[in-house]
């Protein structure tokens, strides 16, 4: 691979008419950096950029909350510019744009721009107008370039941590464009788009990259292979992996491949931006440390001391990398522990069919269910701890342990109250809340006593298919209820009773399943249909697991089902 330089500059918050001079200045700075760009290439390119900017500036006068960013890129073989603005959509047919006659006073702008470069395009992308300008260089860059040497010199060891670029590797042009637009405004760095892994590696070999965001599945080299390759050349570079085809296995594979963040599509700008911002800052710092060591001249003792310090920093960095390896292993292990904490099988209760499952959306999560067996009754819990990942998992394990330990003799509502008292401080300190369904099933009478703490997603499905929702009006655990005041006479959670007739089923599920089925009333109907069409509770679980496996899980999917057997005819 040749050391071909790509220089990129971004100008934010243009273009009002007064900003035209800022654009001229940006280009003139670029030309002085890039002595190799031919004069005619400069003239043609600058002309097109200014004409388009002028066109945008005219429209900006009419839009009060107008924003526009310009990115200019000098490639070895071409010059590129891209404007993205938030103005009104434009009716422009660039194909039909023609140069007016010599005596015309107006209407020449876009015709000039079109003639001055090889490509001029306008596109409406969602709420953004995108203008692209490209001029092939008549005199391509000689290699190695003078500009490149200048750049290397400029980044000496005491140089400030200059921002690098954000590299987005995404084969879907629309999504890539969205991410670029979402990030470029907010991350204070130019964003470059590579449509496949090879292009990305090429950019990495010549550009200062602060963070890579990559799709997991791409044509050619996959995201995971690419990440392995990047890790060899750029051990400290933060990497975010995205996928539309999430599964636990993928997540773990990604973690094993040293990814810093794993995001499941659809990805919102609100999730993406802060994550990328944070990682980019880390990437820039790591890049500077690495560069610092590479550029030190050990000719004086003071510099030798600096070099020693820098070397120690680099060592710390590589230790941190080692720790990251171990962290991802620990996360994997934590996921295994969490799976082990789920019941392997349902308890046996004469005359009843019981089953439950939890399908995590990520390696570890905040849902759990549990069974508690007594002589002639079975209690069960379906709970969802707010949040995701390790923090949620820690609280989940605590809640599970507390519920297991409460005195259950006084019934579900009292159990819930007792657990809530034990957990109040922990939940308040961690700012977490927990929704929970706690049921006690009497095997002989068919009576189900239950308490519902903000869970609300339980159905009583009768043998004939009719169903009703067990509506809970009580708040989740962790929401301020005044329970800490210790007023023992005021029950915070109501105890409800229903009786299951033979063939009746009660199913309680987390909002992961509710959302999976559309998150509206129809989802409830679908759950009821799954329940009544299933031959037994195992079949209900199997159907839910199938559904969860078909798509991207945004949240954990947990379900518990209890069905009363038909009475044997003796």
């Amino acid at each position: 691979m040749t050391g071909t330089p790509v220089i990129e500059r971004t100008l934010r918050h243009c273009v009002r008419p007064a900003d035209l001079d800022r654009i001229h200045q940006l280009l003139s700075d670029l030309w002085s950096d890039e002595v190799a760009v031919d004069g005619q290439d400069r003239i043609g390119f600058e002309l097109a950029v200014i004409e388009v900017a002028g066109n945008i500036a005219e429209h900006s006068l009419q839009s009060p909350a107008f924003e526009c960013d310009l990115v200019v890129r000098i490639q070895p073989d071409q010059l590129e510019a891209e404007f993205n603005d938030t103005g009104e959509p434009l009716e422009i047919d660039l194909e039909a744009t023609e140069m007016p006659d010599e005596m015309a006073e107006n209407g020449r702008g876009l015709a000039i721009a079109k003639m001055a470069v090889d490509e001029l395009s306008y596109r409406r992308n969602g709420a953004v107008n995108t203008w692209r300008i490209r001029r092939k260089r008549r005199v391509p860059e000689p290699a190695p370039s003078v500009a490149n040497a200048r750049r290397t010199r400029a980044t000496g060891w005491n140089a400030p941590a200059t921002p690098g670029i954000v590299l987005v590797v995404e084969d879907d042009a629309d999504l890539g464009g969205f991410m670029r637009a979402a990030l470029e405004r907010k991350v204070d760095r130019p964003v470059r788009l590579a449509e496949n892994a090879l292009l990305a590696l090429q950019i990495l070999s010549v550009e200062a990259v602060d963070v890579v965001i990559t799709d997991i599945q791409m044509p050619g080299m996959t995201g995971l292979e690419m990440v392995s390759r990047i890790r060899q050349s750029h051990p400290a570079l933060p990497i975010v992996m995205m996928t539309a085809h999430a599964s636990v296995d993928y997540a773990i594979a990604a973690l094993r491949h040293q990814v810093d963040e794993f995001l499941v599509k659809p990805i919102s700008a609100a999730t993406l931006v802060p994550k990328v911002k944070e990682l980019a800052a880390r990437g820039a710092a790591a890049r500077q440390t690495a560069r610092a060591l590479a550029n030190v001249d050990p000719s004086t003792s003071a510099e030798a001391e600096v070099m020693r310090v820098e070397r120690e920093m680099l060592q710390d960095l590589s230790d941190a990398m080692g720790q990251r390896e171990s962290l991802s292993q620990q996360l994997e292990r934590a996921a295994q522990v969490q799976r082990d904490l789920l019941p392997r099988s349902a308890p046996l209760l004469a005359g009843w069919d019981l089953a439950g499952t939890c399908v995590p959306s990520f390696a570890i999560g905040g849902d759990f269910f549990d069974w508690y067996s007594t002589d002639d009754a079975v209690e069960f819990t379906v709970a969802d701890v707010m949040g995701k990942g390790i923090p949620a998992a820690l609280v989940t394990a605590t809640v599970r342990a507390v519920i297991r330990g409460v005195d259950r003799s006084a019934g579900p509502a009292a159990s819930l109250r007792s657990a809530a008292l034990s957990l109040a401080e922990d939940l308040s300190e961690t700012g977490t809340f927990v929704t929970m369904f706690l049921g006690r099933l009497d095997g002989t009478t068919g009576e189900l006593r239950y308490a519902d703490a903000g869970h609300g997603l339980s159905l009583h499905v009768r043998a004939d298919g009719r169903f009703s929702q067990l509506v809970g009006k009580d708040l989740p655990l962790g929401i301020e209820t005044g329970i800490e005041s210790g007023d023992a006479d005021t029950p915070t959670w109501a105890e409800n009773v229903l009786t299951l007739a033979p063939g009746d089923t009660v199913v309680s599920f987390s909002d992961g399943l509710f959302d999976l089925l559309g998150g509206d009333k129809q989802a409830i109907v679908e759950v009821a249909a799954i329940v009544s069409s299933a031959a037994d509770c195992a079949a209900i679980i199997q159907r839910v697991v199938e559904l969860a496996g078909q798509t991207t899980l945004i949240d954990d999917v947990t379900v518990v089902a209890v069905r009363r057997d038909y009475e044997e005819i003796s």
């Binding site: 008419p17 007064a18 035209l20 001079d21 001229h24 004069g39 005619q40 003239i43 043609g44 600058e46 002309l47 200014i50 004409e51 002028g54 500036a57 005219e58 140069m99 010599e102 005596m103 015309a104 006073e105 107006n106 020449r108 702008g109 015709a111 000039i112 003639m115 001055a116």
Partner: protein, 110 residues
């Protein structure tokens, strides 16, 4: 962009344009030429572009408007000492046929 006007001969004006002739500066040049021709009675106008580093479509528009104003008044508008960027744009737009360039201010006045 800074404009400067001199009156070297009776009925003639030389406008020096210093900087970039884009949509910010163009309306002012258009206005200045109009004043020079109509109010000052200088129908022969020379725009000295030696220090004009950049021109775009709006700058060209101002020059054409000035040319029309001068010709309507029985005179002419000529440009002197254009830099490479300007000659490139004039050729690109075929406007070198109507906006004649002269290598010096003296020749353009001649």
């Amino acid at each position: 962009m800074i404009f400067d006007v001199e009156y070297p001969q009776e009925g003639a004006a030389v406008i020096t344009a210093n900087g970039r002739l884009n949509m910010v500066a163009a309306p002012r040049l258009r206005e200045l030429i109009s004043t020079t021709v109509k109010d000052k009675g200088c129908t022969r106008v020379v725009v000295d572009l030696a220090d004009t580093e950049f021109i775009d479509s709006s700058g060209l528009g101002a020059l054409i408007a000035g040319l029309k104003t001068a010709r309507t008044a029985g005179g002419d508008l000529r440009i002197a000492r254009p830099q490479e960027q300007i000659t490139t744009v004039l050729e690109l737009t075929n406007m070198h046929r109507v906006l004649r360039s002269y290598p010096s201010v003296a020749e353009s006045l001649g």
